[in-house]
Subunit: 176 residues, 2 copies
């Protein structure tokens, strides 16, 4: 085993724990454990990594590493990097927290809010001219949900498109 300072070892342990736990959290957030682990690994890596390094670090299969890297690039949380004179693809994570937040917010809106909103639109529309008391009650409830979710959708857009500084300013006002 390589000789190393106690400090280096402590750092390694902290990193490993971070990666392992971030992976576990990922499953709570609806993304696969490996995807969250790769994200954690790259967020704290001082340099871009290639597929084999990721595989080794996480003891994951090639297919798994590959598809999750692709997915992360898709989300925009990770960028592919070309290093000249090297045929391999390298990957590095977006590290700015506000960027990370807006990317995740956009994705969640797309997956969680928009489909709900379109369902609510449809149900409200389909029942808007029914006259029975029961139908009116249904229409009313759906309408309330529709308005709220529509609101949430707009809010999400607005906040995501803010500059970090401006958002911070707004947040400070709310927290004060």
């Amino acid at each position: 085993m390589k000789i190393m300072k106690v400090e280096t070892n402590r750092l390694g342990q902290a990193k490993d724990e971070f990666i392992a736990q971030w992976g576990a959290l990922g499953t709570q957030w609806g993304i696969s454990r490996t995807m969250a682990q790769i994200h954690a690994l790259l967020m704290i890596s001082p340099r871009a990594m290639c597929t084999d390094e990721v595989m080794e670090e996480l003891a994951a299969s090639r297919g798994n590493a590959h598809s999750n890297l692709k997915e992360l690039v898709n989300w925009g949380l990770v960028r592919m990097i070309v290093i000249k004179g090297d045929r391999r693809d390298f990957y590095e994570a977006e590290k700015d927290v506000w960027q990370i937040f807006t990317i995740i917010a956009r994705e969640r809106k797309r997956r969680e809010i928009e489909p709900a909103l379109s369902l609510l639109n449809k149900c409200a529309e389909e029942t808007k001219d029914l006259r029975s008391a029961e139908a009116k009650a249904f229409h009313n409830q759906v309408k309330q949900l529709e308005e709220f979710v529509g609101f949430a959708s707009k809010m999400s857009d607005r906040i995501s498109s803010m500059k970090h500084g401006l958002a911070l300013q707004l947040a400070t006002k709310i927290l004060s």
Copy 2:
């Protein structure tokens, strides 16, 4: 088959679609399909329902209906109701959208934000006095995440504890 007005049938179809689709959405939100379906069913039901009615409406098993009803009561999205002269337990959903929102926000914070925050706290703490450049970079990245997530946590609390009207006022300001 029972004779019914066209209107009644249209309403029934809209309800069925709403329940089915809300269930499908539930899986995106990290809750089981049945739980989301029961929630939808009760949100649009004009009266409280007993376990057997829920089972029948959703073609779900007793155990499934039971455990998901229990879970919904646990969240606070559904209340158990006692009807005198009837031994069965009845259930009714919270219908106020702002209430629904705050309940879900609280639960999500508990499951998604708090564990992340405690991990970040721990990792920042464990590396705060390491001096290598690599350690400092790690500590710095974790710290940034910690600050942001801590911020999000406070925001979530603040907004959830607002009265609907006040939140609306705030939102209007942001959207304007």
